[in-house]
């Protein structure tokens, strides 16, 4: 017990929480935007893989770090566009299209990787984002130290949450987005295009997912590996539900999940680690997420038109 308290009081633990949460935050916000507009985007896992590759490859090919992030964003938006065209105007099953996009994005990423780096056995590394310098912040114990250990991308992740929240709740665009996921007829009858709004949401959201993937290769680590996204995208789907489709709560969910993860890594080295199999520790984030879901977001308000395609002129 005292060990847990010690862990919770250490700056490095909180630094790890923020690092682990960052890619989840980007991708969760991306998914949240899509679902708020009424589209479940199961392409998330593959789009993250592709973003991880695209950002890293761009930097390896000589672009700067920020242009690399931008490149990942654009690549994600490209796959988002495919998803959007198929699910919005054509109204195809969001399950099939999403899983199909995940498969397509993942495998074409691997194919591209293998074609561009046929001879290399360990992938080349790039110079990733470094923690920002905060001379004053560093001196605040725990919180300040943890924040000071973060790269610009983590700060960007938090900024994205603020922007998403502001757009959703404070702008006409956000209003249209929220309405599109609840009752597309309401949007249409006010003279707006449901198709354009939903497609825009899916494309923008997919861009964010890709940036989440890029975080892995450009901040958390410095090169690209197959399968390195390792289910993080699926976690983000859960986080959106956990967050009851609200940016603030979803952020909280991402931090909680990352917290459980950072905690289990550390618990493995405590006395518990001797007796409990490591799989139990790895399970902690998932089990606690389900528990938290049961306790917190019971009967959350699902966007009523989620997964319901809209075709003009249908009743």
């Amino acid at each position: 017990m005292t060990e847990i308290v010690e862990i919770l009081l250490s700056a490095s633990f909180w630094a790890a929480v923020l690092r682990i949460a960052s890619p989840l935050i980007f991708a969760t916000m991306g998914e949240l935007i899509c679902e708020r507009a009424g589209v479940l985007n199961l392409g998330i896992e593959g789009i993250m893989v592709m973003g991880a590759f695209a950002g890293w490859m761009a930097v390896y090919a000589g672009l700067g770090l920020w242009p690399g992030v931008l490149f990942a964003l654009l690549a994600g938006m490209a796959f988002g566009a495919v998803h959007a065209v198929l699910t919005v105007p054509f109204g195809l099953s969001q399950h099939v299209v999403g899983l199909g996009i995940t498969l397509l994005a993942t495998s074409s990423t691997y194919y591209a990787y293998r074609l561009s780096l046929p001879e290399v056995t360990s992938p080349p590394r790039i110079e990733p984002f470094q923690p920002l310098e905060w001379p004053l912040l560093e001196r605040i114990p725990v919180v300040g130290e943890a924040l000071a250990a973060q790269t610009a991308l983590t700060w960007l992740a938090f900024a994205v949450v603020v922007v998403v929240a502001l757009v959703l709740y404070r702008t006409p665009l956000g209003l249209a987005l929220r309405a599109a996921g609840e009752n597309p007829q309401a949007v249409e009858s006010q003279g707006l295009s449901v198709t354009a709004i939903r497609m825009g949401a899916v494309i923008a959201g997919s861009g964010l997912m890709a940036v989440g993937g890029a975080f892995l290769t450009m901040s958390a680590f410095s090169s690209f590996f197959f399968e390195m996204v390792n289910g993080r995208g699926w976690i983000c789907i859960a986080l959106v539900v956990f967050g009851a489709w609200k940016p603030g709560k979803a952020l909280l969910g991402a931090l909680l999940f990352a917290g459980f993860d950072a905690l289990q890594i550390r618990l493995q080295q405590t006395g518990l680690g001797q007796i409990v199999p490591y799989q139990v520790f790895l399970m902690i984030p998932y089990v606690l997420s389900i528990l938290a879901l049961v306790l917190m977001s019971r009967r959350a308000e699902v966007p009523a038109a989620l997964m319901t395609p809209f075709n003009r002129g249908d009743r």
């Binding site: 006409p172 249209a176 309405a179 007829q185 309401a186 249409e188 003279g191 707006l192």
Partner: protein, 512 residues
């Protein structure tokens, strides 16, 4: 007056509008004009093409032929945005509101460029408050729409149009879900707006409303414009005839011969469900061969009473006895087994399964019993026979029993439900808003059937927000207010005004 002249006076002109859905011609070469400050009523049976025409005018649908001109300028087809910009507002037959947004947000939706930095809520709130006052449309701008009653939602829909300075307002069955009081308030609003120059197209199946509000009536039949008449020069009977093409007379119930008490509530209470009131100490006896009408303003516990009789809810206190025996294990299935026939309020959401065929819908309540099924196996031929029988006996107009019921008009859907319920020969009938939204022909038909069931010995509970309907059909009337029931008033013993007093909550024991 005529409207073919006075070009500066004509705010809207439809010319040669034709719209086909597959083989069906929903609108057939329809032309008419609308003048400034005029209320035109559009009449027609279910499926006559009224909504389709309005959807074309507003840009939801694109016509196959014809043009729409607003203030002398042609509207580009298929663009609601353009219609809105030209000053056309539409209150849809089915609400187009986002439940997760507030009233204000629903009104603001689409009124500013999407990329604008803010919503301008403060100014908008003032404007909405002003409009509410000017037109007597009281709603709270910051209430979530999901929490509003239908009447309030209707007001939000109208505010949406007024907020955009609509100069032409289309109202597609705005009163179908309103109480008479709410309807009267709406008309008051409309008269004020019309006086300020608003032009209105008004759709309703209720002829007394049409005569009350419109200055001119257009009648559609099978997609064609079959008549046009100044309201002042016609009456309800003539209008009904124009619509249906035959004379219609309202059913006149014979004298009831009440029998034994079949269902009795004794001091029954039920839990409140969210915003909806529960029942408070309700005593009620339903007798064989008698129609008991329940009058009241919507939201006063009608839903709770209907849920109780449907089997969806059980009493939290008090006794409910059926044929003398107290009920146990109350559920929808138990209610059906006990011989209660239930006509639900919302035929789309509770009464039918839209993507089931007529056959499948016809056996919704009997699929689990012989002869429709045996030991878990369905007899599809038997189910189909039942559907065919209902279709024939109840005049359900449809392409066939294997059609998805989604494609039927509300009236025909209602007839199928009626058949499903009555074919089981129920001893008790719960009829909750049985004619809402139906055209006059269908209304008459449904009411006749209910009377016939009464005469055959069933106890009928008729719940309706239409006081006229309650007065016309009921052998005795109970008024519901805040979950309490008034004493039973025999037919003709109370005037509408007196009942109105009870509906407003006066006269109850515990009323202050």
């Amino acid at each position: 007056m005529t409207h073919e002249d006075g070009a500066q006076d004509t705010v809207l002109r439809l010319t040669g509008i034709t719209k086909r859905f597959g083989a069906l011609t929903a609108n057939d070469d329809i032309s008419f004009g609308l003048a400034r400050g005029e209320v035109v009523a559009l009449l027609g049976e279910n499926g006559a093409g009224k909504t389709t025409l309005m959807n074309i005018l507003f840009g939801h649908y694109t016509a196959d032929a014809g043009t729409v001109e607003v203030f002398g300028r042609a509207l580009p087809p298929g663009q609601p945005g353009a219609a809105l910009a030209a000053g056309v507002g539409m209150v849809h037959q089915h609400f187009t509101l986002a439940d997760n947004l507030t009233v204000l947000e629903n009104i603001l939706l689409g009124t500013r460029p999407l990329w604008a930095p803010g919503l301008g809520r403060a100014a908008a709130r003032q404007r909405v408050a002003q409009l509410s006052r000017d037109f007597g449309l009281a709603v709270h701008p910051d209430a979530r729409v999901g929490a509003l009653s239908v009447g309030e939602r209707q007001r939000v829909e109208i505010l949406k149009a007024l907020y955009r300075d609509a100069r032409i307002l289309i109202l597609d069955e705005p009163t179908a879900v309103l109480t008479p009081q709410e309807t009267e308030a709406l008309f008051e609003t409309l008269r004020r707006a019309v006086a300020q120059g608003l032009s209105v197209i008004f759709i309703s199946h209720k002829l007394h409303e049409v005569t009350a509000i419109s200055s001119r009536v257009l009648v559609l039949r099978h997609g064609r414009l079959v008549g046009e008449v100044a309201t002042a020069r016609t009456d309800r009977h003539r209008l009904a005839e124009m619509m249906v093409g035959a004379e219609i007379s309202a059913p006149a119930p014979s004298v009831a011969r009440p029998g034994a008490v079949l269902l009795e509530l004794d001091g029954v209470e039920t839990e409140a469900q969210g915003n909806a009131t529960g029942l408070r100490g309700v005593n009620l006896a339903l007798r064989a061969g008698q129609i008991t009408g329940l009058a009241g303003v919507s939201g006063n516990g009608q839903g709770a009473l209907a849920d109780l009789l449907s089997g969806l809810a059980a009493p939290s206190a008090g006794r409910m006895t059926l044929g003398g025996a107290e009920v146990a294990d109350w559920s929808p299935r138990a209610a059906v087994a006990a011989g209660i026939g239930r006509i639900p309020e919302d035929r789309h959401r509770t009464g039918t399964i839209a993507d089931f065929t007529l056959t499948e819908n016809a056996v919704l309540e009997s699929y689990a019993r012989q002869p429709v099924s045996r030991r878990g196996w369905m007899d599809r031929a038997e189910a189909r026979r039942r559907a065919e029988a209902i279709i024939a006996a109840y005049d359900v107009r449809c392409p066939g029993p294997e059609t998805r019921i989604r494609l039927l008009s509300g009236g025909n859907m209602q007839k199928l439900i009626l058949g499903r319920v009555l074919e089981a020969a129920p001893s008790i009938i719960l009829a909750n808003q049985p004619v809402r939204g139906l055209d006059i022909g269908a209304v008459t038909y449904v009411q006749e059937r209910l009377i016939a069931a009464r005469d055959a010995g069933a106890a009928v509970l008729l719940i309706s927000e239409d006081l006229d309907e309650v007065l016309a059909l009921s052998d005795e009337i109970r008024v519901i207010s805040e979950g309490r029931l008034s004493p039973a008033f025999p037919r003709g013993s109370r005037s509408p005004a007196e009942l109105g007093q009870w509906m407003a909550g006066h006269g109850f024991d515990d009323a202050a």
